[in-house]
Subunit: 248 residues, 2 copies
């Protein structure tokens, strides 16, 4: 595989995505706490499809569809919805075979803004290895899109971008400066991600939400192998066998 | 001084400045290669005032004013102008007592966008210590505004933000996640900034411009002590004695 001229870029927040030419790229959407972690876990556990929507109103409009409705704002479940974005709501018992309509503070906005990409995929520590193996095989420009927090950079999404770069950099992609930054930050933090994230300005916010179990879960690497991708406006499980025919 | 509730934020590019509430803050504009370095050097060397303007056209409109006209785009002097943004153009012989009209690819845009701040100051490695001493004494929220490269993050401006944070963090400011990131990046790079910056995606661009001497100069810490601030649309030397009356 010749990736010597392929680009591996990091977009530190959706507010900067317009500066990236993504028409021919794979965009990996990252929202570690907790939207993309929950999406990966849900798809692994048999969710048929997740429909990401921008607003609570749009989510509510599906109330007679038979779908599960998930809405989170500022880290909490919006009143009246089935659940928010805690991964523990996405167990096989609850979601197998279901379609979920999802709106979150940051992650679903990022997915929406990435729609112009060649392919939109969903990344989290849960599917890190599977995602990286697939990205390497695709031989295409990559943009790692951090959802951040209300338009600003956050540490956990940047660290995950760094974890992807660590696996991909031997393949010879050209990194941008945000990629160098994410990669070096990850090298500093990787031995104890939880401890490193105590530095985050969001630590207090997350503590107030009482989601320590969620955080530990979200930082656990390679507990799943499914790659959610956006197809006709819905997140579905990538058919790896169709993608790697030579391996069949 | 009680700074325990003061914020020290890093804005990684001007494209994100609208997310920061700067009305009561000092915004430090950073464009290490090379606009803010040259501004610091010029002000130290007796420039009366620097007028930052957004466009080449606006800069050219001053042609009968008797001012020096400096215009840079993509790292090069724009044809027909007196000079661009190499600090070596800002020696005492050339600039003492003069007014300069300046437009650059990134730095003057950042200055323009920061105008709503309580105070706009100019930072570079040249005036690092003087700037930090002044910031500590001001007892005010701070936003370190990296000019970046055409809206995207760059390493050198982020590193300088980290250098400022290293001096200020003992004073007890609350850091945002971009601040943590800048600070940790600086701790990795500070022993040899020049070597670290070889990693930058802009290395090739800078090499093509043949400005190695400029780069070394721009990374030299504490060669000046003036702090340029924006006053009535012009960058002038801060009157430190007026700011620190107790020291007089």
């Amino acid at each position: 595989m010749n990736t010597s001229k392929l680009k591996l870029e990091v977009c530190l927040t959706p507010a900067l995505l317009h500066l990236h030419d993504i028409a021919e790229s794979i965009v990996v959407v990252i929202d570690i706490f907790r939207a993309t972690t929950s999406i990966c876990f849900g798809i692994e556990n048999g969710v048929k499809a997740i429909i990401p929507v921008g607003t609570i109103f749009e989510c509510a409009s599906y109330r007679n569809s038979g779908f599960l409705l998930a809405a989170e704002r500022n880290g909490e479940i919006v009143e009246g919805f089935h659940f928010g974005n805690s991964p523990f709501a996405y167990t096989p018992q609850k979601v197998n075979g279901k379609t979920i309509v999802l709106t979150t503070t940051n992650g679903t906005r990022a997915i929406h803004e990435a729609k112009q990409a060649h392919t939109v995929a969903i990344g989290s520590f849960l599917n890190l290895d599977a995602l990286c193996d697939w990205l390497k095989a695709e031989n295409r420009n990559i943009c790692l899109l951090c959802s951040g927090w209300k338009g600003k950079t956050n540490l956990e999404d940047t660290l995950f971008a760094g974890a992807v770069i660590e696996q991909l950099k031997e393949a010879g992609y050209t990194l941008d400066d945000a990629g160098v930054l994410a990669s070096d930050l990850y090298s500093l933090a990787k031995d104890d991600l939880r401890k490193y994230l105590q530095k985050s300005s969001h630590t207090e916010r997350l503590q107030k939400l009482n989601i320590e179990e969620d955080i530990i879960f979200c930082l656990g690497a390679n507990t799943t192998s499914s790659i959610p991708i956006l197809k006709d406006g819905k997140l579905v499980k990538l058919d790896i066998e169709a993608t790697f025919p030579a391996n069949v």
